[in-house]
Amino acid sequence: MAGDTATWAHSLAKISPYTFSAIGIAVAIGVSVLGAAWGIFITGSSLIGAAIKAPRITSKNLISVIFCEAVAIYGVIVAIILQTKLESVPASQLYAPESLRAGYAIFASGIIVGFANLVCGVCVGIIGSSCALSDAQNSSLFVKILVIEIFGSALGLFGVIVGIIMSAQASWPTKSA
């Protein structure tokens, strides 16, 4: 470390990269599932309420629930990819710059995917809820609002793409280094 004066950089660099990696992976799956669950209950409660008077809408509008579920699947995929990037390094190299970088990369990838999927899930859920409500009134509206929902679900995909690109940066130092 350069210099002897205590700076905040020292406290950041003393946090183990394993901490960052673990939190990143947990956030990737946990917050994605939070977004998916949020979307499912927003859509599901509206769908069920609207279907009281119009039970025909139930089977078609399950596709909104499936879009929200896809958000959780993105989170699972990225969490499994990230955990394959997680390696153990010898203790002498635990705080080497390269291994700190790998820890930060996994953390960032997890944050990216988790929060992108959180907002995507909420978005798809709200659109799905209004899709169900309007379909109950007028069945020609279903496909039109579904197009909006497809745009919304692209947000989660953006997060997954960036997260996977970021996770490619996570290269731990090898034993010989």
Partner: protein, 195 residues
């Protein structure tokens, strides 16, 4: 510089924290039943009790409580549907079992006498517990709200039972994803120390 402190002694802290997170988030922190806190008068059974819920129940507790309130409200007018409407409550209870599974896997994996428990293992266990617990918490919220709406709507329109079950299954799958990732992560915990 890091003075050779490797932190391996603190590793079991993170491991046990992970096990605790898996269980606490998915099951129960403390949950209040609406009946005890806000006793309903007989005219109030249509009011949205959900706005008066102020509790930090998590996961399975939230799912059980929220859909249980729906069953109770619905059962006043249609008591014959109560047993069919217990399904969301059962599905919420399963989330607690997922948390229990991960917590047991983690806590039996922390055995420094049998095998050295490094910081890597501790963090892998922490990640595993957090993944399963947070996913269980979210799925419990979804099951609770969808179950509440579903049982009330099912009482008015019997054709909705299958639709409600389908949506509940999707919500339950979310907790299953968390369990899968948790198991994969906790299996990484034995693979540390590339020395």
């Amino acid at each position: 510089m890091s003075s050779g402190f490797s932190g391996d002694e603190t590793a079991p802290f993170f491991g046990f924290l992970g096990a605790a997170a898996a269980l606490v988030f998915s099951c129960n922190f403390f949950s209040f039943s609406a009946e005890n806190i806000f006793p309903r008068k007989s005219m109030n059974f249509i009011t949205p009790i959900s706005q008066r819920f102020v509790f930090s129940g998590m996961g399975a507790a939230y799912g059980t409580a929220k859909s249980g309130v729906g069953v109770a409200s619905m059962g006043v007018m249609r008591p014959e549907l109560v047993m069919k409407s217990i399904v969301p409550v059962v599905m919420a209870g399963v989330l607690g079992i997922y948390g229990l599974i991960i917590a047991v896997i983690i806590s039996t994996g922390i055995n420094p006498k049998a095998k050295s428990y490094y910081l890597f293992d501790g963090y892998a266990h922490l990640s595993s517990g957090l993944a399963c617990g947070l996913a269980g918490l979210s799925a419990g919220m979804a099951i609770g709200i969808v179950g509440d709406a579903g049982v009330r709507a099912n009482a008015q329109q019997p054709k909705l039972f299958v639709g409600m079950i389908l949506i509940l299954i999707f919500a339950e799958a979310l907790a299953l994803y968390g369990l899968i990732v948790g198991i994969i992560l906790s299996s990484r915990a034995g693979q540390s120390r590339a020395d």
